[in-house]
């Protein structure tokens, strides 16, 4: 065991540098997917609360389907489906075929998956904003956009952050699924390093530690963010445990 630690060195023959590059790819996918998920989620949450019956039902179908199917199958379906549709559209418009890069595809597909979960989290948080505040703002003649940016969003942030924190952790871990589609992120790079050097435990445990550090750092960061978002709240009752 002791000799295999040298394999983690940053420069070849060590694999540390490869792992770090792959880690960067993982982080990019996670951040991008989480961002797209937030945008979809915010739009979806507002649509589910204020939209008409058709929009509401369509959004329900989206969130239910995405949450009922394994991520892996969604990734494959969306990956092939989206590239196919895009290329057919481009062919119809007399453009050439394009190949979507792995990073972009990963970000979009995981973003669509994250969007479904974010919709439900944000919807719950928006509904938990005291309706009197929104009514008061409307009564004062605030336009709808200002109600959202000044009242609803700041108030619901503190309520949504615990759920969003979980969602971000899922995003970081779901990037590992891109390994199955052959995209070179941290988990796949780890397997390549491990099967080349036969030092399986060293590399898998090292990658596990990297993921764990990301998890712990994000948990800490989100806790601070939540304290900041709740800075104006009345003191909460602590649970009856």
């Amino acid at each position: 065991m002791e000799s295999t630690f040298g394999l983690l060195a940053l420069s070849p023959p060590g694999w540390g540098g490869t792992l770090l590059i792959a880690l960067w790819a993982s982080i990019r996918i996670a951040v991008g997917a989480f961002g797209i998920g937030l945008v979809i989620g915010l739009a979806g949450a507002y649509g589910k609360i204020y939209g008409g019956p058709v929009l509401r039902d369509c959004l329900s179908v989206y969130t239910t389907m995405v949450r009922a199917l394994p991520e892996l199958i969604l990734i494959l379906l969306l990956y092939f489906g989206l590239t196919d549709l895009l290329n057919r559209a481009l062919m119809a418009l007399d453009f050439g075929r394009i190949q979507i890069s792995g990073v972009v595809a990963g970000i979009i597909v995981l973003g669509v998956v994250q969007g479904a979960y974010a919709t439900e989290i944000l919807r719950g948080a928006i509904l938990a904003v005291p309706s009197g505040q929104i009514e008061a703002a409307k009564a004062m003649g605030m336009p709808a956009r200002k109600v959202a940016s000044r009242i609803t969003l700041p108030t619901m942030l503190g309520l949504a952050l615990p759920g969003l924190s979980n969602l971000w952790l899922i995003a970081t871990k779901d990037t590992a699924l891109m390994a199955i589609v052959g995209f070179n992120e941290l988990t796949l790079a780890t397997r390549q390093a491990a099967s080349t050097t036969k030092a399986f435990f060293t590399f898998f445990i090292a990658a596990g530690l990297i993921y764990l550090v990301i998890t712990l750092l994000s948990t800490w960061g989100f806790a601070r963010l939540e304290r900041w978002a709740r800075r104006g709240d009345p003191p909460r009752q602590t649970g009856g445990r």
Binding site: P53, L72, I73, L177, I180, S195
Partner: protein, 258 residues
């Protein structure tokens, strides 16, 4: 029933039915009729079901002591239990599966007494590692859930039981565990659906479950979508059965009367 008969819902259902019909008619489904693929798919579904059921069973059995140790155990049990749950929940399941399969799988052949033991023919296959990884993962997530459940059992009841002279294991089996289990059943249902959704990951270590079976069909016949739609439908049905099953379990629990 009335809710379903709103005009826009009827139109949406017609569109959905049309889509399904179009997939059925325009797609290539002849492989479903071939005995070779039929056995592959049936075996795959069966493997998915027992991998899920067994890992949930083993995982939950491990989760109860993990939760108990964190909620009311001494520090030398609570700290390792907490560390285990953090590590499991903080790393991707795919990484855990590969760690056990490639790691242990490369270690075992070098140890003579394992290779000569009765268990070797089993340990040479992939499924024990898949089951191990899935069970430990479920235990890690549910350990955290059980910690909350045990902590939320009202203190007064446990104090009362202690005052009546109940021994500790009886307090556990008669008071803490039944109430913790009741409060945790809805969460457990959701987590079990998540466990079902995690099973296709074991296809990466050559376990031939339903997802792997569909990949085999896709590679053999060079078709992209139809097998994916088929497994999607299978997972939807299985998830529905789990949700219904847990709903039934919940409805069986005794209602509060006073």
């Amino acid at each position: 029933m009335k809710a379903l008969l709103q005009p826009h819902r009827i139109i949406m259902m017609l569109i959905a039915a049309g889509l399904v019909l179009w997939i059925c008619l325009a797609g290539r489904w002849d492989w479903l009729g071939e005995p070779k693929y039929q056995t592959l798919i049936l075996q795959g579904i069966w493997r998915t079901i027992w991998l899920m059921a067994l890992s949930v069973l083993i995982g939950f059995t491990l989760a109860v002591p993990l939760g108990l140790a964190q909620a009311s155990g001494p520090w030398y049990l609570a700290v390792p239990a907490r560390a285990f749950c953090t590590v499991i929940r903080g790393t991707p399941l795919l990484l855990q599966i590969w760690l056990w399969y490639y790691g242990l799988g490369s270690l075992f052949p070098g140890i003579p007494w394992i290779r000569e033991s009765e268990l070797w023919p089993i340990l040479r296959q992939a499924w024990p590692y898949a089951l191990l990884a899935l069970s430990l993962s479920y235990a890690g997530y549910e350990g955290e859930v059980m910690r909350g459940a045990f902590a939320s059992v009202p203190r007064g009841q446990i104090e009362a039981a202690r005052a009546m002279g109940m021994p500790r294991h009886k307090i556990l089996t008669r008071i803490s565990f039944p109430q913790a289990l009741q409060s945790v059943l809805p969460t457990l249902g959701g987590e079990t659906v998540l466990q079902l959704k995690a099973t296709p990951l074991v296809a990466t270590i050559t376990v031939l479950e339903i997802y792997a079976a569909s990949s085999r069909v896709r590679q053999d016949l060079l078709i992209t979508y139809e097998p994916l739609f088929f497994v999607a439908a299978v997972y939807l049905v299985l998830a529905g059965v789990i949700v219904l099953g847990f709903g039934w379990l919940e409805s069986r629990r005794p209602r509060r009367t006073a």
